[in-house]
């Protein structure tokens, strides 16, 4: 994580405060850990900032949720049931798997535990995000905004912190709300419209389908630092190897863990 600008400014700020205190003999009060972030002024409310920042996520989610709505109705579920899956689970790959499991008559508990195992990686997101946010940040409403902490929202929030933005629960709500609304509306429209809606527009469909890979790449570039290059390389290599050898789900989980473990190596 490239946090060098924030930290170096913070250190400069602290040094300046210390020198001033020595000069004036005044008492030195502790500088906030993220002094440079605290100084940043906002031109928009954090909620609006979050809504704007989530635009690529919302645009990427809509066609995927649309496909899910179509797939659900084609698998024999009603529009209401498709919507309920999106509303209650809110995790793309799990929902597609849920359709396959439920329509094949898999036992309820087996289906539920399979879906739960798929999303185990999300356990790491909250601590990683709050670590980057810095100590003392409000988490009063985390029980609500954390529901929206999907892969893409996590990536976007982390990228914003790495670029020096101050953590705000309003921003997290903005990011999450827009993405969730897009996911729900996409599901509903897909379930109602059926499969033929985007068939006449393959270029639009392809462009929208590339939105999330493009977002991941842009986010990766935004947080990349020389220190994290081995982490990225290990994560990518393990993802490819495990995906080819076992499955895409295992590839994501093990790739992520292998990259994080690579970060433990002192350099």
């Amino acid at each position: 994580m490239n946090l060098a600008p924030g930290r170096s400014s913070g250190a400069k700020c602290f040094t300046a405060r210390m020198q001033a205190a020595i000069r004036t003999g005044a008492a030195l009060t502790p500088a906030p850990r993220r002094a440079s972030r605290a100084r940043m002024t906002r031109t928009r409310p954090p909620l609006l900032d979050g809504l704007i920042a989530s635009l690529p996520i919302a645009m990427g989610y809509f066609p995927i949720a649309f496909s899910f709505g179509v797939a659900a109705t084609q698998a024999g579920f009603t529009g209401l049931e498709a919507f309920a899956l999106s509303l209650l689970i809110y995790a793309g790959a799990s929902q597609f798997l849920a359709l396959a499991l439920l329509s094949s008559g898999a036992p309820v508990l087996v289906s539920a535990f399979t879906l739960i195992a798929m999303n185990l990686r999300h356990v790491l997101y909250g601590p990683a995000l709050m670590r980057e946010a810095g100590a003392g940040q409000s988490k009063r409403h985390a029980w609500a905004w954390a529901w929206g902490l999907t892969d893409e929202v996590f990536g976007q929030a982390l990228g914003a912190l790495a670029r020096g933005q101050r953590f705000s629960e309003g921003y997290m709500f903005g990011l999450g709300l827009s993405a969730y609304a897009s996911w729900l509306s996409g599901t509903l429209v897909g379930a109602v419209a059926g499969g033929g809606a985007l068939e006449g527009w393959p270029a639009v469909s392809a462009g929208l389908g590339f939105m999330l890979p493009a977002l991941f790449l842009a986010l990766l570039l935004s947080i990349l630092s020389r220190r994290q290059l081995p982490v990225v390389a290990v994560a990518g290599a393990v993802t490819v190897a495990v995906t080819l050898a076992i499955s895409a789900t295992s590839g994501i989980l093990l790739g992520m863990l292998a990259g994080a473990v690579a970060g433990l190596v002192r350099r």
Binding site: A53, G60, A98, Y125, G236, M256, G263
Partner: protein
């Protein structure tokens, strides 16, 4: 409403909420002051995003030009726009447009 579907959705949804919210509410940031855990969490973000990008493009990586060219055009557009403008939103939208345009040009 299918009762099995509702049960599965409620169980999976409750677990998803727990995975996303409980580690934040449990004040794990205090644990993060432990050296190895701090390095682990610091590497989790880049590792997660790199993994998700690789997993997203992997199915399109083939020697089949109609699949490979849009991916290459979209990826290059993201890289170029990031270098030029340093904007995540612009790079993402530009990449998607380049990808869609290449699909359209290839017919």
């Amino acid at each position: 409403m299918n009762l099995d579907l509702l049960t599965v959705a409620l169980l999976a949804g409750a677990a998803n909420w727990a995975f996303r919210a409980l580690p934040i509410l449990a004040r794990t940031d205090r644990l993060a002051t432990v050296g190895w855990l701090e390095r682990f969490l610091s590497a989790t973000g880049p590792a997660a995003i790199a993994t998700l990008f690789v997993a997203a493009v992997l199915p399109s990586l083939s020697l089949d030009l109609p699949r490979l060219l849009p991916l290459a055009a979209g990826t290059l557009a993201v890289l170029a726009l990031w270098v030029l403008r340093r904007s995540v939103v612009l790079a993402t939208l530009g990449g998607a447009v380049a990808h869609g345009l290449t699909v359209w040009l290839l017919g």
